[in-house]
């Protein structure tokens, strides 16, 4: 790849109509040492991650950090409000009534963790308002399971091998598409 970098990639992908077929096809690809580029499914498929050798998501670390921030923020804010800014006596309780803060602290922890994780997820995946959706095939978001290979630099013999693999593992249809790199 010493020459000019290609700005587009040629993706060869097959669509399956069943998750069991998909799992079997991924196993077959692993056995044949085929280099799967990506797998797209309309919903999380159990047992797919270990087959693809994916690492555990690190999203929950972000969740923990945001949760901790929410916890400290909620508790700190209430402490500031009720001891410094605007102390009010509620039901004869002390100004700094910790037990009364617990439910709100808990809720802010959950809120920060949830919203923070969604934001991080959107940023990592390039999603969000105004983002151009990048999908290979519309029905992947509906009822089809997709295995995709990067065929940009493949010789025609290798592409035929992949097509043979798709028909052998029961793919419903095989497509090829140029996508931005």
């Amino acid at each position: 790849m010493a020459e000019v970098m290609s700005t587009e990639r040629n993706i060869l992908f097959g669509l399956y109509d069943d998750e069991v077929k998909l799992l079997d096809a991924v196993k077959a690809a692993n056995a044949a040492h085929l280099n799967i580029d990506e797998v797209y499914t309309p919903f999380p498929v159990h047992g797919l991650d270990p087959l693809l050798g994916l690492e555990e998501s690190r999203l929950h670390i972000a969740g923990f950090i945001f949760g901790t921030i929410g916890c400290l923020f909620g508790f700190g804010f209430m402490t500031w409000v009720f001891t410094r800014d605007w102390p009010i006596i509620f039901g004869g309780k002390p100004y700094w009534s910790v037990p009364a803060f617990i439910p709100i602290t808990f809720e802010l922890t959950v809120l920060f963790a949830a919203v923070g994780m969604v934001l991080v997820f959107y940023i990592i995946c390039g999603l969000g308002p105004g983002a151009e959706p990048r999908r290979l095939h519309d029905r992947i978001t509906d009822d089809k399971f997709c295995i995709a290979f990067d065929a940009t630099d493949l010789a025609s013999g290798a592409v035929d091998d992949l097509k043979g693999y798709f028909s052998k593992t029961g793919a419903e249809s095989v497509h090829s598409k140029m996508v931005p790199a």
């Binding site: 159990h46 047992g47 555990e56 004869g92 037990p99 617990i102």
Partner: protein
């Protein structure tokens, strides 16, 4: 793999522990000079009996709930929960000992069983329709008998399925017919017996959250014991089909119900504290002032530890960390029951010794002011009227005095009790008796496991359980 083989080594260990526990239990009868009708012995017996009966009960509950909910993942180890459930019969025997003690006056754990105290005490008199030996006996024997009937029928059908099960799965349908009503029965009866067995130790106190609180505690303990037993059985080569996926789900239960327990633990406090239910604060006041190790240690063991250990995904999938977390919360919830039972028993003990002894005691006077005035005041001519009135005011019965009582008496009403072996924190005797009961429970459960094939191969959900994936 067919039936479980109870190795002689396992027999020696569990049986030996049970024997040591029995010796220590008998020893606890004689320590403290048999103070308060052998209070230490009786509370230890009650504590451990209720704890292990509760585990057995919760296994029935989980079994019935999962079966009714079409759950399949747990089916591989359902024999373990069936075996847990069968412990209700020895449990009934243990409660029988306490019932005999109740009728013969051999123990004095329950203040409401003291006819003299009830006669002069408006609160106890009011509660006596429910808190009386007849109800206690009837509820214990009746409800436990009912539970035992259901679980033994379910186990019987389940074992018969192994021999005569067909592809029509009519055994499973029959189990379901027992499981669904069993669920309703368990839901209502458990609250009634837990009020009788434990909450009524604080005879004047009540909390609407108590049954939830104790149930959550027992559910965590049951899950923890299941995890530890399954890890042991797997290490012996049983249950080849149980893998990290099943432990992951059990770990999630351990984690989730620990959080639920904390929620209830806090809510019980919150409802009383924020609702200004002054007369019920006594439960927390005594425990926070005199049993800080129990009260806060409880939160450390049962919330902080499992929360941080089990939060990560992988700690629920590794046997080492999961076993470690289970051991902590298993002990933790035993500790939780210790916290419910012992401080209450000690308070009863304090009243008993003061009734027998002198009246001018400072501790007694302050105890009265803390809200126990009406236990004694009427029968107690040695008391000053002022102290009597204070007691009422703090309890919130004398409406016009309530505000004043709260305001002026705040610091002076706090009672600090000295350390007392076997009450302030669990002593060596208590730990030993706990291990003894654990040994006895495991001996019973493992013997039950030898009686039927470990894996219910003809259960309709068995195959699903093998392929379980979280």
């Amino acid at each position: 793999m067919e039936n479980f083989v109870f190795s002689s080594r396992a027999k020696t260990v569990t049986g030996g522990l049970a024997l040591i526990g029995l010796v220590l239990l008998v020893a606890s009868y004689f320590v403290d000079g048999g103070e308060g009708h052998h209070m230490r012995f009786w509370t230890n017996l009650l504590h451990n009996s209720v704890f292990f009966i509760g585990i057995s009960f919760m296994a029935c509950f989980a079994y019935a709930a999962f079966t009714t909910a079409y759950a399949g993942w747990f089916v591989q180890f359902k024999r373990v929960w069936e075996a847990f459930g069968m412990f209700l019969l020895p449990g009934l025997f243990l409660m029988g000992v306490i019932i005999v003690g109740l009728w013969t006056g051999a123990h004095h754990m329950y203040h409401w069983n003291d006819a003299e105290a009830v006669a002069t005490d408006a609160i106890l008199k009011h509660k006596s329709a429910f808190l009386n030996p007849v109800w206690y006996t009837g509820a214990t024997i009746g409800f436990m008998g009912l539970w035992y009937f259901f679980i033994s029928r379910i186990r019987q059908i389940s074992i018969d399925e192994d021999k005569n099960g067909t592809t029509a799965y009519e055994h499973h349908a029959r189990i379901k017919k027992y499981a669904a009503p069993f669920l309703i029965i368990l839901g209502f009866t458990t609250a009634a017996v837990i009020w009788q067995w434990i909450m009524s130790l604080d005879a004047h106190w009540y909390s609407t959250m108590f049954a939830w609180y104790a149930s959550a505690s027992l559910f965590v303990a049951m899950t923890a014991l299941t995890i530890m037993l399954l890890i042991y059985l797997k290490s012996r080569g049983y249950f080849p089909g149980i893998n990290a996926e099943h432990f992951h789900d059990l770990g999630k239960y351990l984690f989730a119900i620990s959080i639920f327990w904390t929620y209830v633990w806090f809510s019980q406090f919150m409802l009383i504290w924020y609702g200004n239910v002054g007369e019920e604060t006594i439960y927390f006041r005594t425990r926070m002032d005199n049993y800080p190790v129990l009260f806060w240690g409880n939160l450390l063991l049962n919330f902080i530890a499992p929360f941080f250990i089990l939060m990560r995904n992988d700690t629920k999938r590794k046997f080492g960390t999961l076993f470690f977390a289970s051991a902590i919360v298993f002990f933790g919830h035993w500790f939780d029951f210790f916290n419910m039972i012992k401080p209450a028993a000690r308070e009863t003990l304090t009243h008993m010794t003061h009734d027998a002894g002198g009246h001018g005691d400072e501790e007694h006077a302050t105890m009265d002011a803390a809200g126990h005035g009406d236990d004694h005041a009427a029968a107690d001519d040695g008391h000053a009227t002022a102290s009597h009135d204070d007691g009422h005011a703090a309890e919130g019965h004398g409406d016009d005095h309530a505000a004043a009582g709260h305001g002026e008496g705040h610091e002076s009403t706090r009672v600090f009790l000295p350390y007392k072996a076997g009450y302030t924190i669990p002593g060596l005797l208590e730990i030993g008796i706990f291990l003894g009961f654990l040994g006895g429970f495991l001996f019973f459960v493992l013997s039950m496991l030898t009686k039927a094939p470990l894996e219910p191969k003809k259960d309709p959900y068995f195959e699903e359980s093998l392929h379980h994936h979280t």
